[in-house]
Amino acid sequence: MPGLRTAREVFDQQFLPVRAKLLEVAAALDRIDRSNGSLANDPRRTQVQAAIQVLLRPEDDRAEQIQLIFSRQYDRDWRENFRMTNDE
């Protein structure tokens, strides 16, 4: 389905919301860094960093890619792992 609006029109409408959301993320990360303790072993911090990297990519599937970063991987062998067969 072709877009009805120009990139300029969309950007004009989205600039302030995007600016606000980036500031929220930046402030939350600052808040975490000012707190005591370390997140060195927390995989969620790695996920957040990977998601931020996706924002810098040029492709237009960033939302899908960030969803996948925060998802468990699909295990094709789940039936075998559960010992479930098609005729069960």
């Binding site: 389905m1 877009g3 009805l4 609006r5 409408q13 599937d61 939302a63 899908e64 969803q67 996948l68 925060f70 998802s71 468990r72 991987q73 699909y74 295990d75 789940w78 039936r79 559960f82 010992r83 479930m84 098609n86 069960e88």
Partner: protein
């Protein structure tokens, strides 16, 4: 614009919400059976719940001119108790011929366990044997991708299933393509924090088109907004999409999907549509 909310849990909402929905243009809704926030202790508890869904809620909705439809099952969260689930599945046929019962739902997975998969397939078998439509819940957050893929594996393995009569709900950017590609209907749930926002749902419509896509509020007892579908309508209008496209997603598509159920009797509103939002 008149609209239909194809997934909303009105037992958790107030009568004031029914009034608000009617004022916003909601003319019909469907209410899948779901988790009450606690695990019910017996099949008798589910029989009472099914009575509420098929008798009282249609009456309460009718006070405001809203047509109420429902889906019956034991939800994925309680399906971890397989023996209880089998007792509940056994009583569902008692209710399947009641007016407004559209099928089996919302069945699915929650934590993607073996027990959940077992009960899911037993619900599917019941739906096939009784020629019912199916409405499917996909898991939350990090479990959604794996759970959706597992659900599609199970559905696609069953050659008896008519994919036109199955709705896979709560799709997001990383799951919608697989659901549509396999020939199923897909639902987008508009939630304040998790699942989709109205803007992201509009993005998905722009990416995939309106074919076999629905939007719903899934309003329930948690953080949710029963008027989320009008928010989506407004978002689409702000982007300049034609009324015909918006109406297709929020009105025509639910009618097309629901019309495949033998218990779906719909009376179109006979008064002019409300003013544009």
């Amino acid at each position: 614009m008149y609209y239909i909310d194809p997934h909303i849990h009105m037992v958790s909402r107030t009568t004031d919400d029914y009034e608000t929905l009617a004022k916003m243009g909601c003319v019909a809704l469907s209410e899948p059976a779901f988790w009450a926030g606690y695990d019910r202790g017996s099949a008798a508890g589910f029989r009472d719940y099914f009575e509420q869904l098929t008798a009282f809620e249609p009456k309460r909705a009718g006070w405001y001119g809203i047509q109420h439809y429902t889906w019956l099952c034991i939800n994925a969260k309680e399906a971890e108790n397989v023996s209880l689930a089998r007792e509940v599945i056994a009583i569902i046929p008692e209710f399947l011929d009641r007016p407004g019962v559209l099928g089996i739902g919302e069945i699915g997975l929650n934590k993607n366990t073996r027990n959940e998969a077992t009960v899911f397939m037993e619900h599917i078998d019941l739906a096939v044997r009784t020629d019912e439509q199916i409405l499917i819940h996909t898991p939350h957050l990090e479990d959604k991708y794996q759970g959706t893929r597992m659900i599609l594996d199970m559905l696609c393995d069953d050659g008896r299933i008519n994919r036109d009569r199955v709705l896979v709900d709560h799709v997001e950017e990383h799951t919608v393509r697989q659901v549509l590609d396999e020939g199923f209907w897909a639902g987008m749930t508009l939630y304040p924090v998790s699942k989709c926002t109205p803007a992201r749902a509009a993005d998905i419509i722009e990416t995939y088109g309106p074919e076999r896509l629905l939007v719903n509020s899934a309003g329930d007892w948690g953080p949710s907004k029963p008027t989320a579908v009008p928010d989506f309508i407004l978002e689409m209008r702000r982007r300049g999409h034609p009324e015909s496209l918006i109406r297709r997603v929020v009105y025509d598509n639910p009618l097309t999907f629901f019309s495949q159920s033998r218990n779906f009797v719909f009376n179109p509103p006979d008064v002019a549509e409300p003013a544009q939002l």
